[in-house]
Symmetry: C2
Subunit: 205 residues, 2 copies
DNA sequence: GTCTATATGCGGATAGAC
DNA sequence: GTCTATCCGCATATAGAC
């Protein structure tokens, strides 16, 4: 009668690289739900099904873990954009916008990016967030070939979406219909997607 | 030889309301520089020249202090917009944009707003940040009389500026000229203003 | 590779004097 | 109205077993 009922005393052995990726995914969801400050390494650990010291062991510090999370998130955005580039035509603004909206379905991805844009003042995180933002900017302008003005408008719309996501202005929290109207005019269907994906207050994503 | 050199052992007596305002101003600068998480109540206290327990005493908790700060900031944005409304004409988009940019000169005002848009997930702060954002949205649309589309574009540009401010993409941190180009195309002169106002890494504002 | 146990430090908050 | 002293909790990080 020793360990019968205790589930998950020890997570199944796994290659460190795989475990890393698993933790990064969980961490993205948790950081996305509660922001950098509001999340503890223990929250991340429990979401990933491992012990708190182990996530610290793997990533060194909480800040380094978060940095790994946002680097991965920014890369993901670019890969999503890149995927819709082939055969780029007149619709590339709409298609890339849709690609961004599609990321709403990947837990925490957009919230994490939104949050990272407010952390430029942090000496460790700031440089990484800036580089991520810049990399998207450059991609849109140089690889997708947007004009200067289209690039600005595209990024501005993205930041508006980030703010709406960061504020939890839709979903269980939404009170003002005008906001979802706006969202709809930014990216058709994004509002509906957000509504579905948003957890109730206090819930995890 | 007792208290000769000790400066400010006790802050000069003052009406609580005035002290409150003084602390709010200092707190705006400090929260703006280091974000909500990165700031301690002691940081605020020292910036305001009072003791740490006293700021807690006046505001109850750190979260309540921050809430007071962002409420004040959102009100300030609206008052700045309202000030340029009389005799509103064709230029109202440009004039309100300039009014927003003018707030760059008030320490921490824009950074605080930028940061608050990432804290929607916080059960205490979230509702206040949402209400602040909504109030600006409504003002632009209903009182300034912007069209639905102009409102969205205006807010989107504002969020882009917030992101640039939040990321510290200009000033001592700026590395990519393309970003200041963009800022200039959003709001003429804003980039130069930002450059002047941004502190070096790690410095207080 | 992963855990348990624990040290450590920091920051928010309280008590109470002046 | 404002401070000093201090408590206390919590979360990060370490040590070391398995």
């Amino acid at each position: 009668m020793s360990s019968m009922m205790s589930e998950n005393v020890t997570a199944p052995r796994m290659k460190a690289a795989d475990r890393r990726e698993l933790i990064l995914e969980a961490a993205t969801a948790v950081f996305g739900a509660s922001s950098y400050v509001g999340t503890t390494t223990d929250d991340v650990a429990r979401a990933a099904g491992v012990s708190q010291p182990y996530v610290v062991r793997l990533f060194g510090t909480k800040a380094k873990l978060y940095i790994a999370v946002i680097e991965r998130a920014y890369e993901r955005v670019i890969s999503a954009f890149r995927a819709v580039l082939p055969g780029l035509d007149e619709e590339r603004v709409a298609r890339m916008g849709a690609a961004y909206a599609g990321l709403l379905e990947e837990r925490g991805m957009l919230p994490v990016i939104a949050n990272s844009t407010a952390l430029g003042g942090d000496p460790e995180i700031g440089p990484v967030a800036r580089e991520g933002f810049n990399s998207i900017w450059r991609f849109v302008r140089d690889e997708a070939g947007f004009t200067e003005e289209d690039t600005r408008n595209f990024m501005a719309n993205g930041m508006l979406i980030n703010a709406i996501v960061g504020l939890r202005l839709v979903g269980a929290y939404g009170t003002d219909d005008s906001v979802t109207e706006v969202l709809d005019s930014c990216l058709p269907n994004a509002a509906a997607k957000l509504r579905d994906l948003m957890p109730a207050a206090g819930e995890a994503w």
